[in-house]
């Protein structure tokens, strides 16, 4: 538990009546689906005695243990680091990607955000490109395809170069880092009414395009990544839902800059092709 999270006692002192429930009794409406082709359905489960200090995934762990003891199939969901930096987890909770707390991945969402007696609806990410593997786990290979198309830089191998050999303006470094905060969870796609992957793609394009190391492949990268994205995902109509859903609060400014880079890339790449 991180030091910023109040303990159970502190939580009680934060305004809950002292004789209020120390634990939460919840009902969960969870999407169950046996496989990609199988029809899915909602199943409702009782989750009694949940600690408000449990994370959403820990709450699901508790539920799964009980299901297993009852001889039922546990709910399949993905997770890895459980500290909000790997991008593996991701659930649609009560109609919001990663749940009700802004700038928070599902693993960092704590049950104190819910109230005793709540009915919580849990669904997998929905997008044409995100096929449901089972229950709440989806296949996000399409995001990897976008990275493979140009989310890299070329460097000379050999002895490690001196640190800070390439000077980077502080503002550019910070801006690139804001984009590089993307953990690739796919919440932007899940939250987009068009199932567009513009915020993911823009973050991955811009964190390289903003830095000197990213310049040699800048135009090839922009064109290839945007066009690979368009093979799998919908079109951006600037709703801004992605920015609200993003657990790293990445700005849609990066989408605008990628749009500009894309137009420039189309012109420059044509010119380069003419020279070869």
């Amino acid at each position: 538990m991180s030091p910023t999270e109040p303990s159970g006692a502190a939580h009680g002192a934060q305004g809950e009546p002292p004789d209020g429930p120390a634990t939460l009794n919840l009902r969960l409406r969870v999407w169950r689906q046996d496989g990609p082709e199988a029809p899915g359905r909602f199943e409702t489960y009782e989750a009694a005695g949940i600690s408000p200090d449990a994370s959403f995934l820990e709450m699901l762990d508790v539920l799964n243990e009980r299901l297993t003891l009852d001889g039922q199939e546990p709910i399949v969901f993905e997770s890895d680091c459980r500290e909000g930096i790997c991008g593996t987890c991701g659930l649609m909770i009560d109609g919001r990607a990663h749940g009700p707390q802004k700038g928070t991945a599902t693993c960092q969402l704590h049950m104190r955000q819910f109230s005793d007696g709540d009915l919580i609806t849990v669904e997998p990410w929905r997008a044409g490109a995100f096929e449901v593997i089972r229950d709440l786990a989806v296949d996000r290979t399409a995001l990897d395809e976008i990275i493979a198309a140009g989310g890299y830089i070329s460097v000379n191998v050999g002895a490690a170069p001196d640190a800070n050999l390439v000077a980077v303006p502080k503002e550019a470094a910070e801006c690139a880092f804001d984009a590089a905060a993307c953990i690739g969870c796919g919440a932007c796609v899940a939250a987009c009414p068009n199932s567009a992957a513009q915020l993911f793609t823009a973050a991955k394009v811009q964190h390289l395009n903003l830095l000197p190391q990213g310049q040699p492949e800048r135009w090839a990268r922009t064109e290839a990544m945007v066009e690979t994205m368009e093979q799998f995902f919908g079109s951006c109509t600037n709703h801004g839902e992605c920015e609200e859903a993003c657990p790293k609060e990445i700005s849609i400014d990066f989408i605008a800059w990628t749009n500009r880079d894309y137009v420039r890339a189309k012109l420059k790449n044509r010119k380069l092709a003419g020279q070869s």
Partner: protein, 236 residues
């Protein structure tokens, strides 16, 4: 989407400003319409500039619809619904209704042309007297309401579209970004107020010509004078 939208925004603004001639009276409105036809007559034949502008406008309109159609198709094939419903946090009413307000405005434009340019739906169409035609059409309450509805749809469409245009064109600089939203709001408000004033003022009787075509009467009077002055056998 953004480039054609920009062209259409330009048209909508000039159209609204030009229509303000309705406040000056029937003859001034007629002269404004003639000025549009006379654009560029110093250099090229009459109405050519107007037709070039119309061709550009039709092209922008067609391409705008084409991009909207293909983007919608792309999204429809990529999108999957949430069985348990979903929340909207950032997407506002305007952004979510673009695919409704767009077709409403499109249908309205067809009606509007048939009403005031071709005269099919107009109860008393007089060619060359736009003031009279506007009054004849908008003095009917259902037509006035239809104009109100369509212009509210147009303003809603512009409210999201004008802001969205900056994002799509990559015009984004943290220092000026708050201005983009205000610009879109201001533009939509100016268009809405200007365009709504016409049906409302016709309905309350401020814009009214008493069912007479002032332009036709004046032209006929001028012709009568002209005929009287002309030598028998016609002018050379």
């Amino acid at each position: 989407m953004a480039l054609t939208g920009l062209a259409l925004l330009g048209f909508v603004l000039v159209h609204m400003l030009g229509n303000l001639h309705l406040y000056e009276g029937p003859w001034e409105t007629h002269e404004y319409a003639e000025t549009l036809r006379d654009l560029g007559t110093e250099v090229i034949p009459r109405t050519w500039v107007l037709w070039a502008l119309r061709a550009g406008l039709i092209a922008a309109f067609a391409l705008h619809i084409h991009s909207a159609y293909s983007l919608t198709r792309m999204s429809r094939s990529a999108d999957r619904r949430y069985a348990g419903g979903r929340d909207y946090i950032a997407a506002d009413y305007a952004s979510r209704t673009m695919r409704w307000t767009g077709p409403i405005v499109g249908l309205f434009v067809v009606y509007h042309l048939a009403d005031l340019t071709w005269g099919h739906f107009n109860p008393d169409y007089v060619r060359g007297d736009p003031y009279h035609n506007v009054v004849a059409s908008l003095s009917s309450l259902p037509v006035a309401i239809w104009y109100l509805v369509a212009n509210v749809a147009l303003a809603t469409h512009i409210y999201h579209g004008a802001w969205s245009m900056f994002q799509s064109l990559g015009i984004n600089s943290p220092r000026w970004n708050p201005l983009r939203r205000r610009l879109a709001q201001g533009f939509a408000a100016v268009i809405l107020i200007g365009n709504l004033s016409f049906p409302i003022l016709v309905q309350v009787g401020v814009i009214d010509d008493g069912g007479r075509s002032v332009v036709r009467e004046r032209l006929e009077a001028d012709h009568a004078v002209g005929d009287a002055l002309a030598p028998p056998g016609g002018a050379p």
